[in-house]
């Protein structure tokens, strides 16, 4: 039995993963199609942050965690049926 090759997760990393799992659990409580939509958006957001946010940027990560928790609470509310996100593209308009 060799030593595990995966590095030990830090407390902060565990908290992020726990939040992700909570989101998926909350999604399960919704209808099937809404659930797929929610899971898609949530995993896309987490994946994006994984690549874009510097893992040492603790302040920002903590901020995202707090915001995520608020969003999770809203999602857990039985009246909420789904999530949606907007992608705002700013076009380069040259003013003549």
């Amino acid at each position: 039995m060799g030593a595990s090759s995966r590095p030990k997760l830090s407390g902060l990393q565990k908290q992020v993963l726990a939040l992700y799992r909570e989101f998926l659990r909350a999604a399960r409580a919704k209808s099937t199609e809404d659930r797929k939509q929610i899971e898609l958006i949530v995993s896309e957001q987490f994946r994006r942050n994984l690549t874009q946010v510097d893992r040492k940027n603790f302040l920002y990560i903590e901020h995202l965690l707090r915001r995520g928790k608020h969003q999770l609470d809203q999602l857990k509310n039985p009246a909420t049926i789904g999530l949606s996100s907007l992608n705002v593209k700013v076009s380069d308009v040259k003013h003549s």
Binding site: L9, S10, G11, L12, K14, K56, F58, D73, N77, A79
Partner: protein, 649 residues
């Protein structure tokens, strides 16, 4: 003002006696349990009332508190409005959301409802900025006696031996509990906890999470608190004064008046047990490593509530805070608090140089850079004064790059932001106010002379630190005492009852709405100027090296400044019962500053952190703590009276 006396140590006698009072009239007061104050607008509320006024009752699991007679008890989901004036009843009120407050809250939440009051965001606390680690005897080669000895030596033999024994013995268990709660500390290659070394410790015994241990502990505790249904966190709530009454010769604490700084409303919290865990008072000095919330609120409130204060003269200046003047491209705006370069950098081999690249520590102490902080701080202060310079240099660049970056990632990143690479350049450092060893005098269970009032953490003076705190002992003290205060609190809670119209017994503080925005702006601006002036008096006259003349000058000037400021306030129309964040913080700062100066004047020797040129040596006969008893109510300033005890002429 208070009289300061140096007295013998003795254990604090805590007398158990339940509050005598009328029983609660049935039906009128409903107890709110498990409130969560939400920021976002819930979808199912149709009313357009202010979001902060809307609370949601959660199903309450159980209650052990003794509310006698009938009560309207809401057990189902009900939305209700928090009316101005209706008091909030909790079994336990915790003031402060650092390691001491949160650790205590998590434990007592198993026995009753808890309100955690925090004046900013919950993670804004001194704990969050603690870098080095927590010290505990976890290595088989280490011993409790060794930890005790290191603590007592660093404390210049002013420590209370029983307290030191208790803390050093219970420390390892508290750390294990933290790990069980989800805090993840660094482990070594052998799989065990990595124990670092710091100045003043004779063994490797510092448990840490890279260079941000406090942050990790705060994160784990806050995570647990947020998930606990019995704990309600009230953020942006500022504690104004403790609500106290006299039961014969004893003072009893019944809760506190709180200002919601977001909505500018005053709320009254009635509780059977109050824990003060509000931290220190770094902001009485201009340069401090403490976040802006550290304005000595707890110490001031306790003093006004007739609690005994002890050892305030021992202000620890951290010898190595990042000196912005020495950075290649310093921060564009003035920082609110100095960035700390942890003890562990010196423990890992960092060397101090003056600007001529001369290593000066060996001339001051044979332990060189590993001498306790007060020695290092005085040496740096001496170098700065002799050479008339602004900072000295701390060099760790001789260590391997990977090692530096893995041990001190936070420091490396912070310095890199300003163009400094710590793996190849020395770090500019200067002493800054860091920790208050003194505070509200506490017994072995965190109890004070005020019944129902417990203290833990930096705000307490437990006798552990003595005249100087050993590095990494502060988080340890907070953990141990927060835990020790739990059982006595539960016992006290079970044996006490709410008095009849308890909440109306005290005069209500008011908010200065009637003054208008212009006047309020003027007051805030003037208060900010007065704060800076107080800070510069403290740094010039009550700094690292003191003298009787300078201390007396400080006392006089602070007294004058306070009267001047209060006169200005009242001239502008401020009533004695009015409260506002800036004004309340200022009065707390004045209170703490005066306590520090009186304590410093009372100690006629130099011991640990308190060094005075008029009495430069240790005096065995003076090896006793400084005690300040509550002052007489006559001839007092606005700052030294509780808001609900102000006499309106």
């Amino acid at each position: 003002m208070a009289s300061s006396v140096a007295a013998r140590t003795g254990y604090l006698q805590f007398r158990e006696s339940s509050c005598s009072g009328q029983q609660l009239c049935g039906g009128q007061t409903s107890r709110i349990s498990s409130i969560s104050l939400k920021r976002c607008k819930p979808k199912d509320l149709s009313s357009s009332s202010n979001v902060s006024k809307i609370l949601r009752f959660h199903k309450s699991g159980y209650s052990h508190s003794q509310i006698v007679k009938k009560l309207q008890y809401h057990k189902t989901m009900v939305t209700a409005c928090l009316r101005d004036g209706s008091p909030n009843y909790f079994d336990f009120v915790v003031i402060g959301s650092g390691v001491a407050g949160l650790r205590y809250a998590l434990e007592v939440a198993k026995h009753g409802t808890v309100a955690v009051i925090t004046k900013a965001e919950p993670h804004e606390s001194n704990t969050n900025y603690a870098q080095g680690g927590v010290s505990a005897v976890l290595c088989p080669l280490d011993s409790i006696e060794s930890h005790m000895q290191d603590t007592i030596i660093a404390g210049a033999y002013l420590c209370d031996e029983e307290t030191v024994r208790v803390v050093c013995t219970e420390g390892p268990d508290r750390i294990r509990e933290l790990i069980a709660m989800g805090a993840s500390f660094d482990h070594g290659e052998d799989g065990n906890l990595h124990l670092a070394r710091e100045g003043g410790h004779s063994h490797h015994r510092i448990v840490h999470a890279a260079d941000m241990t406090g942050r990790e502990i705060e994160r784990a505790l806050l995570n647990a608190v947020v998930n606990d249904p019995n704990i309600s966190v009230f953020e942006h709530h500022f504690a104004i004064d403790l609500l106290t009454s006299q039961d014969g010769p004893n003072t009893v604490c019944h809760g506190a008046d709180i200002l919601n700084t977001a909505t500018k409303e005053v709320l009254r919290f009635i509780s059977k047990v109050t824990l003060l865990a509000s931290g220190g008072a770094g902001h009485i000095y201009p340069s401090t490593t403490n976040p802006p919330v550290a304005t000595g609120d707890g110490i001031a409130m306790a003093h006004r509530a007739q609690a005994v204060i002890s050892n305030m003269e021992f202000v620890q200046f951290h010898p190595t805070a990042l000196a912005d003047e020495g950075l290649p491209s310093g921060p564009s705006t003035m920082r609110e608090n100095a960035f700390l370069i942890t003890e562990a950098v010196r423990g890992d081999g960092g060397i101090l140089y003056n600007l001529n690249m001369e290593r000066f520590m060996p001339f001051y102490d044979e332990r060189a850079e590993l001498a306790p902080r007060d020695v290092v701080a005085r040496s740096i202060d001496d170098q700065l004064k002799k050479r008339n310079e602004k900072y000295v240099l701390l060099d760790i660049s001789h260590k391997p790059r990977e090692e530096i970056l893995s041990h001190f990632p936070n420091i490396a990143a912070e310095c890199l932001q300003y163009g400094l690479d710590i793996t190849s350049q020395p770090i500019p450092v200067v002493p800054a106010a860091h920790y208050m060893c003194g505070g509200v005098r506490a017994g072995l269970q965190g109890e004070t002379n005020v019944e129902g009032l417990y203290v833990a953490g930096e705000v307490a003076c437990t006798g552990l630190h003595g005249a100087n705190r050993l590095a990494s002992n502060s988080l340890l003290e907070a953990l141990v005492f927060a835990r020790r205060a739990v059982q006595p609190s539960i016992d006290h809670m079970k044996s006490s009852h709410y008095g009849g119209n308890a909440a109306d017994y005290w005069e209500r503080p008011t908010v200065p709405k009637s003054l208008g925005n212009n006047v309020l702006d003027k007051i805030i601006r003037r208060t900010s100027e007065v704060r800076k002036e107080l800070q510069s008096i403290m740094w010039d006259y009550v700094g690292i090296v003191r003298s009787t003349t300078r201390l007396t000058t400080a006392e006089q000037r602070i007294g004058e400044l306070e009267l001047e400021w209060e006169a200005y306030l009242f001239q502008q129309g401020w009533e004695p019962t009015m409260v506002g964040l800036e004004a309340c913080e200022m009065r707390n700062l004045f209170c703490c500053a005066k306590l520090v100066v009186s304590s410093a004047l009372a100690r006629h020797e130099s011991r640990g952190l308190h060094y005075t040129t008029d009495f430069p040596d240790l005096e065995e006969s003076k090896r006793i703590p400084t005690i300040i008893f509550p002052g007489s109510p006559l001839n007092n300033t606005w700052s030294s009276r509780q808001v609900h005890k102000q006499q309106i002429c």
